[in-house]
């Protein structure tokens, strides 16, 4: 196979249109490569030629996935590429989700090989890792130099129908595909060896990782709303002006609790957002747009429910480790339960 025509999907940042302030832009076209595309071309020894770059704002893509997919599909089909690449998206959740959905759609609808790359915390991983190859990356663009060659290597192997190594060897997320191989030792020997290692407390590698199903059984509902105490919680980083407890703009190390028993409206002079992952203009102009205190007070007055809990809990959900977020949720849930709260409304950005 000679030169490979590539269509490439990027967000507004890597597409060099702008930062968070441009996250709302709809999909647009650029003939030829972006700098990331040029890097991909170079790594392939100029075998790849990025003929078209499709750029879409992170917010626009994440909020309109169903509408953006057909547009991308059409633009890809027009140039008849041999390969579709997206990202790398690193730990950016909205971007990763878009990369995965676009790759999956292009692969399924047009039969074109598609590949992307992102960090293990990215929700885009679970969206498409069974359907396509997703190369594992670090959290930030610092990892670009290591990741681009891996993307190129796996993509070339797919195109050349060469055999692709295991997820560990090639650095992609396991796809749940089983391949028969001839092992040196028979199963009973391997099992006993593994058991002995386990007994001795030595590291061992399972041959069949068990799937993790972590669904929570829905809690029983609020039976009588008009007698219920409801609490507000947000991952959107709304804090008193000046962020007195210094919640971090990303990967927050804590959650905080603030008294709102005498507050009916979050005024811009008194509250702000501390979140570093979305355009703060709208939230800073009116913090009720993220933590809807003014409206819930009105519903409380109307008697829709009995009482709003006197405090709200807040953290910043931005590249925050899943383990931290799970712990914050558990602790907040237990505290609210102890204080007699019967239902929780959580907003996230």
């Amino acid at each position: 196979m000679g030169r490979v025509k590539v269509a490439h999907y990027l967000n507004q940042f890597f597409g060099q249109i702008g930062g968070e302030d441009k996250a709302g832009i709809p999909p647009q076209l650029k003939e030829g490569p972006s700098p990331v595309g040029q890097f991909l071309e170079k790594e392939s020894g100029d075998r790849f030629e990025v003929v078209r770059t499709i750029i879409c704002g992170d917010n626009y893509a994440a909020e309109h996935l169903e509408e953006v997919s057909p547009v991308v599909l059409k633009w890809v089909e027009e140039v008849q590429p041999d390969l579709f690449l997206a990202g790398p998206a690193f730990a950016a959740g909205r971007y990763g989700m878009a990369c995965s959905v676009m790759c999956k759609t292009v692969h399924q609808k047009l039969g074109i090989p598609a590949l992307t790359a992102m960090h293990s915390s990215n929700p885009g991983v679970d969206e498409a890792r069974r359907e396509i190859y997703i190369i594992e990356t670090g959290e930030s663009t610092l990892d670009m130099k290591r990741v681009i060659p891996r993307m190129v290597t796996v993509a070339q192997k797919i195109l050349d129908k060469a055999s692709i190594g295991t997820p560990q060897e090639e650095g992609y997320f396991p796809r749940g595909v089983r391949i028969n191989v001839r092992a040196e030792k028979r199963g009973s020997k391997r099992a006993v060896e593994m058991l002995l290692k386990k007994l001795r407390g030595e590291p061992f590698e399972t041959e069949l990782p068990l799937p993790e199903f972590d669904k929570v059984v829905p809690a029983p509902p609020v039976t009588d709303l008009s007698n219920a105490v409801i609490a507000l919680v947000t991952e959107g980083g709304i804090v008193p002006k000046g962020n007195p407890d210094r919640i971090e703009a990303h990967n927050a190390s804590k959650y905080c609790k603030y008294f709102i028993g005498n507050v009916n409206d979050l005024r811009r002079e008194e509250y702000q957002t501390a979140h570093g992952g979305y355009d703060p203009v709208y939230a800073n102009d009116d913090p009720d747009r993220v933590l809807p205190l003014d409206a819930i007070r009105l519903l409380e007055k109307e008697g829709v429910f009995e009482k709003l809990y006197d405090y709200y809990y807040v953290t910043v959900g931005n590249v925050t480790a899943v383990a931290s977020a799970a712990r914050y949720g558990r602790e907040i849930g237990e505290l609210l339960l102890k204080d007699g709260v019967q239902g929780v409304i959580l907003t996230s950005t």
Binding site: P292, T347, T349
Partner: protein, 88 residues
Amino acid sequence: MVKEIERVGLPAVQICAIVPIALTVGANRIVRAVAIPHPTGNPKLERKEEVELRKSLLRTALRSLTERIQEQTVFKQEEFSSGAGKEK
């Protein structure tokens, strides 16, 4: 976070703009928000209309807390449900 709050036995609804992410992380009760940077607001509206929009989103969220569900459910605005199902 919302999943862990439900785990301790409190019904909890997540209002967020990216429903697929809420489904992936395991939220049981989901209401689709307006947009990522302003989940419960819309800067294009007049102040009074915006408060009404917030109230309407919150009514849906409150309703979701009162329903007995068996699986992850996306609650739609202003549509009242009958029976179980993935969308209500």
